[in-house]
Symmetry: C2
Subunit: 223 residues, 2 copies
């Protein structure tokens, strides 16, 4: 069972991207998608776009083996929420694969799950994140990172890349490729997030080759 | 006001992609997002992933100037629904910019809005679509098309590209670029949808250069 964690003022695409990846991948494998959207308060949860999504509470999360935490404008409150933090910590202790999209990394960081681990977040959050969580091995120019059971992604659409990598882990390259084709997407995009960020370009000055040349996506993994 | 049309068994990302593009673009312009999710029946609408999104009925659509129709497994019923067809036709007659994502093109086609117009849809639907709607000037290898006020896109994530092009039209290149960066996306991706489709590769055999080399996205526009 996959859990998608949202909160008031979450970014809709942070949640919907991975949901659709897992949905399409399940169809490619011929299996039924087992996925639940979860929030600290069950019911309709309003995204920062104003569009509302239905969520269940954390009690229905017993069967979850992968948790993906959305980011968004409301993430600071979500990261401070003790119920949410305790829930994420409990799942991580149980060995669940936990992941964040975009600024969802703040929830993982506040839960202490990124201390000593490699992680990334949206390029626009880099400075704040690094100052706030000095124990995190922050990697600014990744589309996503993986450090053991804890995954993090860059901003918004990078959650799609992260979910496709999880599909590769769970079902292999062929299914992930099929899912990417259905979604009309590259299975792995080339370069890091700096190519999408005028800020990171200025601050980190990646080599021109890293920004322009095709190749494997910049992904940081340690199993 | 932007309207996003959904229906039972819609594809969540078909709707959420454009919604987030318009949301982020509005933030870049400093304006409040004016957007509504609409369905023939107001209330919770279940996507094919099982995740539910809240929608209003068509009565609340008076101020709409852009309508984006999602695709998905339930599109055949939506395209057959007289209330939905009449609604889309009414908006088009009023000069509203109407668009489809993925198989949402079936709704436009059934409403007669694609007759004599260039259009595209998900690569997996090509054969059926062409057989069913011979009056459409079908373009199989586009990420999106525009023919006057009627826009269509390829599958699922191509709705994001389509929405970014609308942002370019409404707010200019600079805002669209900023929105793409926030979303961690290319403003325009290179090549057509055949690069993502083993089916189209086999059937249409695009030149190798069209599949591998960077450049402008394949977009068909006629104003």
């Amino acid at each position: 069972m996959i859990g998608i964690l949202i909160f008031p003022d979450f970014q809709l695409l942070d949640a919907a991207g991975p949901i659709s990846v897992f949905e399409v991948a399940a169809r490619c494998t011929g299996k039924t998608l087992a996925l639940r959207v979860l929030a600290a308060g069950a019911g309709l949860v309003r995204s920062s776009s104003g569009v509302e999504m239905m969520a269940r509470d954390f009690k229905s999360a017993n069967a979850i083996t992968t948790l993906v935490i959305a980011g968004g404008a409301g993430v600071a409150d979500a990261a401070r929420c003790e119920v949410t933090r305790a829930f994420v910590q409990r799942l991580a202790r149980r060995g669940v694969r936990v992941a964040s999209v975009c600024s969802g990394a703040y929830v993982l960081a506040e839960a202490g799950l990124l201390d000593g681990r490699r992680a990334t977040t949206h390029w626009g959050r880099t400075r704040d994140f690094v100052a706030r969580y000095p124990k995190v091995k922050f990697e600014p120019d990744q589309i996503f990172t993986r450090d053991g059971n804890v995954w993090t992604s860059a901003g918004i659409t990078a959650g799609i890349d992260l979910a496709l990598a999880m599909v590769t882990e769970d079902h292999g390259e062929e299914i992930a490729q099929q899912a990417a084709r259905q979604l009309v997407l590259y299975h792995r995009r080339s370069g890091g997030q700096s190519q999408f960020s005028s800020l990171l370009e200025l601050k980190h000055r990646p080599a021109a080759s890293a920004r322009c040349c095709p190749g494997r996506a910049k992904i940081s993994t340690r199993r």
